[in-house]
Amino acid sequence: MNSLIPWYLNGTLSETERAQVESLLRDSPDAESELQLWRAVQQDARTQSISQPGVDFGWQRLRRDLKREQRRGSQQTWRLAAAASVLMIVGLQTAILMRQDSGTRYEPLSGTLAIPANAWRVQVRFAESAAMTDINALLLRLDARVIGGPSALGIYELALPREAAADAQALRARLAAEPLLLQVVVVP
Protein backbone atom coordinates (compact mmCIF):
# COMPACT_ATOMS: atom_id res chain seq x y z
CA MET A 1 0.00 0.00 0.00
CA ASN A 2 2.99 2.32 0.62
CA SER A 3 3.76 2.23 -3.08
CA LEU A 4 0.45 4.00 -3.81
CA ILE A 5 1.33 7.10 -1.79
CA PRO A 6 2.45 9.12 -4.87
CA TRP A 7 -0.98 8.53 -6.43
CA TYR A 8 -2.72 9.33 -3.16
CA LEU A 9 -1.02 12.72 -3.46
CA ASN A 10 -1.90 13.28 -7.12
CA GLY A 11 -5.54 12.41 -6.44
CA THR A 12 -5.96 9.58 -8.94
CA LEU A 13 -6.67 6.66 -6.57
CA SER A 14 -10.08 5.03 -6.34
CA GLU A 15 -12.16 5.69 -3.21
CA THR A 16 -11.27 2.27 -1.80
CA GLU A 17 -7.55 2.69 -2.40
CA ARG A 18 -7.67 6.17 -0.97
CA ALA A 19 -9.31 4.90 2.22
CA GLN A 20 -6.70 2.13 2.51
CA VAL A 21 -3.84 4.60 2.20
CA GLU A 22 -5.44 6.93 4.76
CA SER A 23 -5.80 4.03 7.16
CA LEU A 24 -2.12 3.17 6.65
CA LEU A 25 -1.12 6.78 7.28
CA ARG A 26 -3.04 6.81 10.56
CA ASP A 27 -1.41 3.60 11.80
CA SER A 28 2.14 3.89 10.54
CA PRO A 29 4.56 6.72 11.36
CA ASP A 30 6.86 5.41 8.61
CA ALA A 31 4.09 5.81 6.04
CA GLU A 32 3.53 9.37 7.29
CA SER A 33 7.26 10.10 6.79
CA GLU A 34 7.03 8.62 3.33
CA LEU A 35 4.08 10.87 2.56
CA GLN A 36 6.18 13.89 3.54
CA LEU A 37 9.01 12.72 1.31
CA TRP A 38 6.75 12.30 -1.73
CA ARG A 39 4.99 15.58 -0.99
CA ALA A 40 8.36 17.34 -1.16
CA VAL A 41 9.04 15.63 -4.52
CA GLN A 42 5.58 16.65 -5.76
CA GLN A 43 6.13 20.28 -4.78
CA ASP A 44 9.47 20.27 -6.53
CA ALA A 45 7.89 18.82 -9.71
CA ARG A 46 5.27 21.57 -9.68
CA THR A 47 7.76 24.39 -9.36
CA GLN A 48 10.46 23.28 -11.75
CA SER A 49 10.62 24.19 -15.39
CA ILE A 50 12.72 22.54 -18.06
CA SER A 51 14.07 24.81 -20.78
CA GLN A 52 12.61 23.68 -24.08
CA PRO A 53 13.65 24.19 -27.65
CA GLY A 54 11.47 26.69 -29.52
CA VAL A 55 8.22 25.25 -30.78
CA ASP A 56 8.63 26.97 -34.16
CA PHE A 57 12.06 25.48 -34.80
CA GLY A 58 10.74 22.09 -33.77
CA TRP A 59 7.75 22.38 -36.08
CA GLN A 60 9.88 23.48 -39.04
CA ARG A 61 12.15 20.53 -38.48
CA LEU A 62 9.23 18.12 -38.24
CA ARG A 63 7.77 19.49 -41.49
CA ARG A 64 11.11 19.04 -43.21
CA ASP A 65 11.31 15.42 -42.01
CA LEU A 66 7.71 14.76 -43.09
CA LYS A 67 8.43 16.05 -46.57
CA ARG A 68 11.54 13.89 -46.76
CA GLU A 69 9.54 10.86 -45.72
CA GLN A 70 6.81 11.64 -48.25
CA ARG A 71 9.46 11.96 -50.99
CA ARG A 72 11.02 8.68 -49.90
CA GLY A 73 7.56 7.09 -49.88
CA SER A 74 6.80 8.14 -53.45
CA GLN A 75 10.28 7.03 -54.55
CA GLN A 76 9.71 3.69 -52.88
CA THR A 77 6.43 3.27 -54.74
CA TRP A 78 8.29 3.80 -58.00
CA ARG A 79 11.09 1.53 -56.84
CA LEU A 80 8.62 -1.21 -55.98
CA ALA A 81 7.02 -0.89 -59.40
CA ALA A 82 10.45 -0.88 -61.03
CA ALA A 83 11.60 -3.85 -58.94
CA ALA A 84 8.49 -5.80 -59.93
CA SER A 85 9.22 -5.07 -63.61
CA VAL A 86 12.86 -6.09 -63.22
CA LEU A 87 11.85 -9.32 -61.50
CA MET A 88 9.48 -10.09 -64.33
CA ILE A 89 12.18 -9.42 -66.95
CA VAL A 90 14.76 -11.47 -65.02
CA GLY A 91 12.24 -14.29 -64.76
CA LEU A 92 11.61 -14.22 -68.49
CA GLN A 93 15.34 -14.05 -69.26
CA THR A 94 16.04 -16.95 -66.90
CA ALA A 95 13.40 -19.01 -68.65
CA ILE A 96 14.93 -18.16 -72.04
CA LEU A 97 18.52 -18.80 -70.86
CA MET A 98 17.57 -22.15 -69.37
CA ARG A 99 16.53 -23.20 -72.80
CA GLN A 100 19.94 -22.17 -74.22
CA ASP A 101 23.36 -23.76 -73.83
CA SER A 102 24.03 -24.10 -70.09
CA GLY A 103 27.84 -23.83 -70.58
CA THR A 104 27.64 -20.13 -71.50
CA ARG A 105 27.91 -17.54 -68.64
CA TYR A 106 25.79 -14.40 -68.97
CA GLU A 107 26.24 -11.12 -67.03
CA PRO A 108 24.17 -7.94 -67.11
CA LEU A 109 25.77 -5.22 -69.23
CA SER A 110 25.01 -2.61 -66.59
CA GLY A 111 27.19 -4.34 -63.95
CA THR A 112 26.51 -4.04 -60.23
CA LEU A 113 24.36 -1.09 -59.20
CA ALA A 114 26.38 1.40 -57.14
CA ILE A 115 24.75 2.72 -53.94
CA PRO A 116 25.12 6.54 -53.99
CA ALA A 117 26.70 8.09 -50.94
CA ASN A 118 24.02 10.72 -50.50
CA ALA A 119 25.03 12.26 -47.24
CA TRP A 120 28.07 13.62 -45.46
CA ARG A 121 28.77 12.16 -42.03
CA VAL A 122 30.37 14.60 -39.66
CA GLN A 123 31.42 14.35 -36.02
CA VAL A 124 31.08 17.56 -34.07
CA ARG A 125 31.19 18.88 -30.54
CA PHE A 126 28.91 21.78 -29.60
CA ALA A 127 30.11 24.71 -27.51
CA GLU A 128 29.26 24.24 -23.82
CA SER A 129 27.43 27.56 -23.80
CA ALA A 130 25.30 26.71 -26.87
CA ALA A 131 21.58 27.03 -26.17
CA MET A 132 19.22 24.37 -27.49
CA THR A 133 17.41 26.91 -29.67
CA ASP A 134 20.71 27.96 -31.29
CA ILE A 135 21.68 24.34 -31.94
CA ASN A 136 18.27 23.68 -33.48
CA ALA A 137 18.57 26.78 -35.66
CA LEU A 138 22.03 25.70 -36.79
CA LEU A 139 20.83 22.18 -37.64
CA LEU A 140 17.92 23.60 -39.60
CA ARG A 141 20.14 26.06 -41.46
CA LEU A 142 22.58 23.29 -42.38
CA ASP A 143 19.73 20.87 -43.13
CA ALA A 144 21.60 18.53 -40.79
CA ARG A 145 20.26 15.60 -38.81
CA VAL A 146 21.69 14.12 -35.61
CA ILE A 147 22.38 10.44 -36.28
CA GLY A 148 24.46 9.56 -33.26
CA GLY A 149 25.98 10.64 -29.98
CA PRO A 150 26.72 12.08 -27.67
CA SER A 151 29.83 10.03 -26.96
CA ALA A 152 31.44 10.10 -23.54
CA LEU A 153 33.32 13.16 -24.80
CA GLY A 154 30.13 14.90 -25.95
CA ILE A 155 30.69 14.26 -29.65
CA TYR A 156 27.63 14.03 -31.92
CA GLU A 157 27.43 12.55 -35.38
CA LEU A 158 25.49 14.53 -37.99
CA ALA A 159 24.31 13.72 -41.50
CA LEU A 160 24.34 16.57 -44.02
CA PRO A 161 23.08 16.53 -47.59
CA ARG A 162 25.80 15.91 -50.17
CA GLU A 163 25.14 19.29 -51.78
CA ALA A 164 26.22 21.05 -48.57
CA ALA A 165 29.76 21.22 -49.92
CA ALA A 166 31.75 20.25 -52.99
CA ASP A 167 34.25 18.18 -51.03
CA ALA A 168 35.21 17.17 -47.50
CA GLN A 169 37.70 20.00 -47.13
CA ALA A 170 35.16 22.64 -48.12
CA LEU A 171 32.61 21.09 -45.76
CA ARG A 172 35.08 21.10 -42.90
CA ALA A 173 35.96 24.73 -43.57
CA ARG A 174 32.29 25.69 -43.72
CA LEU A 175 31.47 23.97 -40.44
CA ALA A 176 34.63 25.14 -38.68
CA ALA A 177 33.43 28.72 -39.32
CA GLU A 178 30.33 28.06 -37.18
CA PRO A 179 30.95 29.46 -33.68
CA LEU A 180 28.74 26.81 -32.05
CA LEU A 181 30.91 23.97 -33.34
CA LEU A 182 34.13 23.41 -31.44
CA GLN A 183 35.34 20.33 -33.22
CA VAL A 184 34.58 19.13 -36.74
CA VAL A 185 35.67 15.86 -38.29
CA VAL A 186 34.31 14.78 -41.66
CA VAL A 187 33.97 10.98 -41.60
CA PRO A 188 35.43 9.57 -44.82
Binding site: L4, L13, S33, V41, Q43, T47, W59, R61, L62, G148
Partner: protein, 192 residues
Amino acid sequence: MTLPDEAQSRQWLEQIALGREAALEQFYRHYHGQVFQFARRLVSNDADAAELANETMMEVWRAAARFAGESRVRTWLFGIVNHRAIDLLRRRRRRHEHADELTDVADEAPACNLSDVIGGAQDARHVRDCVQQLPERQKAVVHLAFFEELSYPEVAQVLDVPIGTIKTRVMHAKQRLQHCLASLFAPLRGLA
Protein backbone atom coordinates in the same frame (compact mmCIF):
# COMPACT_ATOMS: atom_id res chain seq x y z
CA MET B 1 -1.73 27.87 -22.50
CA THR B 2 -4.57 25.59 -21.53
CA LEU B 3 -4.39 21.95 -22.50
CA PRO B 4 -6.82 20.78 -25.16
CA ASP B 5 -9.61 18.55 -23.96
CA GLU B 6 -9.71 14.91 -24.86
CA ALA B 7 -12.37 15.37 -27.55
CA GLN B 8 -10.28 18.03 -29.30
CA SER B 9 -7.19 15.82 -29.22
CA ARG B 10 -9.12 12.91 -30.70
CA GLN B 11 -10.44 15.17 -33.45
CA TRP B 12 -6.90 16.19 -34.31
CA LEU B 13 -5.85 12.55 -34.50
CA GLU B 14 -8.73 11.77 -36.85
CA GLN B 15 -7.64 14.63 -39.09
CA ILE B 16 -3.98 13.61 -38.91
CA ALA B 17 -4.99 10.08 -39.92
CA LEU B 18 -6.49 11.65 -43.06
CA GLY B 19 -3.15 13.27 -43.82
CA ARG B 20 -4.07 16.82 -42.77
CA GLU B 21 -0.84 18.58 -41.87
CA ALA B 22 -2.66 21.54 -40.28
CA ALA B 23 -4.08 19.19 -37.64
CA LEU B 24 -0.61 17.81 -36.94
CA GLU B 25 0.65 21.35 -36.46
CA GLN B 26 -2.07 22.09 -33.88
CA PHE B 27 -1.42 18.80 -32.15
CA TYR B 28 2.31 19.49 -32.19
CA ARG B 29 1.97 23.00 -30.77
CA HIS B 30 -0.19 21.76 -27.89
CA TYR B 31 1.76 18.68 -26.95
CA HIS B 32 5.33 19.57 -27.89
CA GLY B 33 6.19 20.91 -24.42
CA GLN B 34 4.85 17.89 -22.55
CA VAL B 35 6.50 15.47 -24.95
CA PHE B 36 9.86 17.23 -24.64
CA GLN B 37 9.67 17.35 -20.84
CA PHE B 38 8.87 13.65 -20.56
CA ALA B 39 11.56 12.80 -23.13
CA ARG B 40 14.04 14.83 -21.08
CA ARG B 41 13.34 12.52 -18.11
CA LEU B 42 14.13 9.46 -20.17
CA VAL B 43 17.39 10.59 -21.75
CA SER B 44 20.34 12.43 -20.36
CA ASN B 45 20.57 15.54 -22.54
CA ASP B 46 18.52 18.17 -24.38
CA ALA B 47 19.66 17.16 -27.86
CA ASP B 48 18.47 13.57 -27.43
CA ALA B 49 15.20 14.79 -25.90
CA ALA B 50 14.60 17.08 -28.91
CA GLU B 51 15.36 14.15 -31.22
CA LEU B 52 12.94 11.92 -29.31
CA ALA B 53 10.23 14.59 -29.43
CA ASN B 54 10.67 14.88 -33.19
CA GLU B 55 10.58 11.10 -33.70
CA THR B 56 7.48 10.86 -31.51
CA MET B 57 5.59 13.40 -33.60
CA MET B 58 6.66 11.60 -36.79
CA GLU B 59 5.20 8.45 -35.29
CA VAL B 60 1.97 10.31 -34.49
CA TRP B 61 1.77 11.27 -38.17
CA ARG B 62 2.27 7.66 -39.25
CA ALA B 63 0.21 5.93 -36.57
CA ALA B 64 -2.72 8.30 -35.88
CA ALA B 65 -5.07 5.92 -37.68
CA ARG B 66 -4.06 3.16 -35.28
CA PHE B 67 -5.12 5.09 -32.17
CA ALA B 68 -7.79 2.79 -30.83
CA GLY B 69 -9.31 5.25 -28.38
CA GLU B 70 -9.00 2.84 -25.47
CA SER B 71 -6.77 5.21 -23.53
CA ARG B 72 -6.46 8.96 -23.24
CA VAL B 73 -4.58 10.57 -26.10
CA ARG B 74 -1.90 11.78 -23.68
CA THR B 75 -1.31 8.25 -22.36
CA TRP B 76 -0.99 6.94 -25.93
CA LEU B 77 1.38 9.77 -26.82
CA PHE B 78 3.65 9.26 -23.81
CA GLY B 79 3.72 5.55 -24.64
CA ILE B 80 5.20 6.43 -28.03
CA VAL B 81 7.84 8.62 -26.34
CA ASN B 82 8.73 5.74 -24.05
CA HIS B 83 9.08 3.22 -26.88
CA ARG B 84 11.19 5.63 -28.90
CA ALA B 85 13.42 6.21 -25.87
CA ILE B 86 13.88 2.47 -25.41
CA ASP B 87 14.89 2.19 -29.08
CA LEU B 88 17.36 5.02 -28.65
CA LEU B 89 18.89 3.53 -25.51
CA ARG B 90 19.13 0.12 -27.20
CA ARG B 91 21.01 1.69 -30.10
CA ARG B 92 23.33 3.35 -27.58
CA ARG B 93 23.74 0.13 -25.66
CA ARG B 94 24.77 -1.66 -28.81
CA ARG B 95 27.21 1.14 -29.52
CA HIS B 96 28.52 1.80 -26.02
CA GLU B 97 27.30 -1.21 -24.08
CA HIS B 98 25.58 0.89 -21.41
CA ALA B 99 23.49 -2.04 -20.29
CA ASP B 100 22.60 -0.40 -17.00
CA GLU B 101 20.43 2.23 -18.68
CA LEU B 102 17.73 -0.26 -19.54
CA THR B 103 17.57 -2.40 -16.48
CA ASP B 104 15.70 -1.90 -13.27
CA VAL B 105 18.38 -1.55 -10.70
CA ALA B 106 17.49 -3.00 -7.34
CA ASP B 107 18.98 -0.81 -4.67
CA GLU B 108 20.55 -1.86 -1.48
CA ALA B 109 18.50 -0.82 1.51
CA PRO B 110 19.93 2.42 2.89
CA ALA B 111 21.33 2.32 6.37
CA CYS B 112 19.14 5.17 7.62
CA ASN B 113 15.66 5.75 8.92
CA LEU B 114 13.18 7.61 6.73
CA SER B 115 11.99 9.87 9.54
CA ASP B 116 15.60 10.94 10.11
CA VAL B 117 16.00 12.30 6.58
CA ILE B 118 12.68 14.13 6.26
CA GLY B 119 14.47 17.28 7.43
CA GLY B 120 16.58 17.07 4.27
CA ALA B 121 13.40 16.90 2.18
CA GLN B 122 12.40 20.34 3.45
CA ASP B 123 15.17 21.83 1.35
CA ALA B 124 13.94 22.01 -2.24
CA ARG B 125 17.49 21.98 -3.62
CA HIS B 126 18.24 18.71 -1.85
CA VAL B 127 15.05 17.14 -3.20
CA ARG B 128 15.77 18.29 -6.74
CA ASP B 129 19.37 17.07 -6.61
CA CYS B 130 18.24 13.67 -5.38
CA VAL B 131 15.43 13.31 -7.95
CA GLN B 132 17.95 14.19 -10.66
CA GLN B 133 20.14 11.32 -9.49
CA LEU B 134 17.39 8.71 -9.89
CA PRO B 135 17.82 6.24 -12.78
CA GLU B 136 15.86 7.32 -15.87
CA ARG B 137 13.16 4.69 -15.39
CA GLN B 138 12.41 5.73 -11.82
CA LYS B 139 12.55 9.39 -12.84
CA ALA B 140 9.98 8.64 -15.54
CA VAL B 141 7.54 7.25 -12.95
CA VAL B 142 8.03 10.28 -10.71
CA HIS B 143 7.51 12.61 -13.68
CA LEU B 144 4.35 10.91 -14.89
CA ALA B 145 2.87 10.78 -11.38
CA PHE B 146 3.71 14.28 -10.23
CA PHE B 147 4.23 16.37 -13.35
CA GLU B 148 1.60 14.82 -15.61
CA GLU B 149 -0.56 13.56 -12.76
CA LEU B 150 -1.36 10.26 -14.43
CA SER B 151 -2.91 7.40 -12.46
CA TYR B 152 -0.71 4.38 -11.77
CA PRO B 153 -2.46 2.14 -14.34
CA GLU B 154 -1.84 4.91 -16.89
CA VAL B 155 1.82 5.12 -15.88
CA ALA B 156 2.09 1.34 -16.34
CA GLN B 157 0.47 1.66 -19.77
CA VAL B 158 2.80 4.47 -20.87
CA LEU B 159 5.90 2.60 -19.73
CA ASP B 160 4.50 -0.69 -21.05
CA VAL B 161 5.18 -2.65 -17.87
CA PRO B 162 2.94 -4.42 -15.34
CA ILE B 163 1.49 -2.39 -12.47
CA GLY B 164 3.65 -4.41 -10.06
CA THR B 165 6.77 -3.09 -11.80
CA ILE B 166 5.59 0.48 -11.30
CA LYS B 167 5.11 -0.18 -7.59
CA THR B 168 8.57 -1.75 -7.39
CA ARG B 169 10.08 1.28 -9.11
CA VAL B 170 8.37 3.56 -6.62
CA MET B 171 9.83 1.59 -3.72
CA HIS B 172 13.29 1.66 -5.29
CA ALA B 173 12.97 5.38 -5.98
CA LYS B 174 11.97 5.97 -2.37
CA GLN B 175 15.00 4.03 -1.14
CA ARG B 176 17.32 5.97 -3.42
CA LEU B 177 15.82 9.30 -2.38
CA GLN B 178 16.10 8.31 1.25
CA HIS B 179 19.73 7.33 0.82
CA CYS B 180 20.56 10.47 -1.17
CA LEU B 181 18.82 12.84 1.27
CA ALA B 182 20.57 11.15 4.17
CA SER B 183 23.94 11.73 2.52
CA LEU B 184 23.11 15.42 1.95
CA PHE B 185 21.36 16.05 5.25
CA ALA B 186 23.37 14.02 7.74
CA PRO B 187 26.54 16.17 7.48
CA LEU B 188 24.43 19.30 8.05
CA ARG B 189 22.82 17.74 11.11
CA GLY B 190 26.27 16.84 12.37
CA LEU B 191 27.26 20.48 12.13
CA ALA B 192 24.19 21.70 13.98
